[in-house]
């Protein structure tokens, strides 16, 4: 359903964001 599709997309987007934020933090640690 449309609602289901949007919820899946929303979950995917927030997961990607969390992953990217973790990635940025790790890179900054290594750049120190």
């Amino acid at each position: 359903t449309l609602k289901g599709d949007i919820s899946i997309l929303l979950d995917k987007a927030s997961l990607e964001s969390q992953e990217s934020i973790g990635f940025i933090k790790a890179t900054k640690v290594l750049m120190k």
């Binding site: 449309l2 609602k3 949007i6 919820s7 997309l9 929303l10 987007a13 927030s14 990607e16 964001s17 990217s20 934020i21 990635f23 940025i24 890179t27 900054k28 750049m31």
Partner: protein, 86 residues
């Protein structure tokens, strides 16, 4: 023939819409249909809320992409420094 097909699908879509409106024409009188309409209205509000969240999430993703690019640029600077050191 493709033009003719386009015209046919255009006309068929319009007929489809009119059929929809015809089926909804008397729904206001029947209490059961009215409750279904209200439920649909509520669902539309919920889906709009989800879309609002999705929009914010995508804006956040754009910011994150920007920070990743800035990070890459500063890493490239570091690389140049090490190269210079070498």
């Amino acid at each position: 023939s493709s033009d003719l097909e386009q015209i046919c699908s255009y006309i068929n879509e319009k007929i489809g819409n009119i059929k929809k409106f015809l089926s909804l024409r008397n729904c206001g009188q029947e209490p059961t249909l009215k409750t279904i309409l209200n439920k649909i209205g509520d669902e539309i509000m919920v889906v709009n809320e989800l879309l609002n969240k999705l929009e914010l999430e995508i804006q956040y993703q754009e910011q994150t992409t920007k920070s990743l690019k800035e990070l890459h640029e500063s890493l490239e600077e570091d690389y140049k420094d090490v190269e210079h050191l070498k």
